[in-house]
């Protein structure tokens, strides 16, 4: 019985976090969402929000241009025509 309760609580926590993450992605303010959550899920929501803001190195523009050109050359050389 305790194990069933534990599983139900875990699913509730997963669902609760998922719903709040969706709302966060829709633009709801993080502080408002976090305020109504259990402590653990509030922490995880904040962690997810920080991850979303992780800054990545930028791609090199020259490499992007040359890669696109290379793809088009490859497409030219392996044109299979319309698939029957």
């Amino acid at each position: 019985m305790n194990s069933l309760n534990g599983r139900a609580n875990k699913m509730e926590a997963e669902d609760l976090l998922a719903v709040n993450l969706t709302q966060l992605e829709m633009g709801y303010p993080l502080d408002e969402l976090g305020a109504d959550l259990p402590e653990q899920e509030a922490r995880l929501l904040h962690l997810a929000a920080s991850l979303q803001k992780t800054a990545f190195p930028v791609e090199d523009d020259t490499a992007v241009i040359s890669q696109r050109a290379q793809l088009l050359r490859a497409a030219e050389s392996c044109t299979h025509g319309p698939i029957p």
């Binding site: 995880l44 991850l51 990545f56 930028v58 791609e59 319309p82 698939i83």
Partner: protein, 180 residues
């Protein structure tokens, strides 16, 4: 052509319209780069892998049929296989963490201090991600670093939405511990 969906662009590309390939590349290369860069610590290397991923896309595009697997999920699987192969070839990848991203400093004329700080933030996340199991790491990267929805991630990983929901909860918990 810019307004067409991925599926429509794929059809055009399969009909030999190369502009469609160009648009697919422009639409997806940044996310694919970020996915690869989240797993491979070297920016130049990551960019090379992205090139390989898209070349494979072009080669196999004539055989692609949606049939329940959206284009983004198909492209992700190509990228994932390339990353896994690459990491397999370079087992010490996770030990190699460059401190300064010289190419970004040179090409973008950014303030070096800002670039270094940005790199360190990503490094911190990467080091913690390296301590997660494979599925949790993929879910965290796809959901939070790349911004795909639960449904999209489920298609990419060939899992149910409920399974991804569970893994994102476990993954965040594990990441929280790993970042302490």
């Amino acid at each position: 052509m810019q307004d067409l969906s991925d599926a429509e662009l794929v059809e055009r590309a399969q009909d030999g319209e190369h502009d469609a390939i160009s648009i697919l590349y422009d639409r997806h290369h940044t996310r694919i780069f970020r996915y690869v860069r989240a797993r491979i610590y070297d920016t130049h290397l990551a960019q090379d892998v992205v090139g390989e991923v898209f070349l494979k896309m072009v080669t196999h595009l004539p055989e692609y049929r949606e049939m329940g697997l959206p284009f983004t999920a198909w492209l992700y699987r190509i990228a994932h296989n390339h990353v896994v192969n690459h990491i397999g070839r370079k087992e010490n990848q996770y030990q190699h963490v460059p401190l300064v991203m010289a190419e970004a400093v040179n090409s973008r004329k950014d303030n070096p201090a800002v670039v270094i700080e940005r790199q360190l933030v990503l490094e911190e996340v990467q080091k913690a991600l390296a301590r997660l199991d494979e599925i949790q790491r993929e879910v965290i990267i796809l959901r939070f670093l790349l911004g795909y929805s639960l449904k999209e991630v489920a298609a990419m990983l060939d899992k149910s939405v409920a399974a991804v929901k569970s893994q994102q909860h476990r993954g965040l918990l594990a990441l929280e511990v790993a970042m302490k």
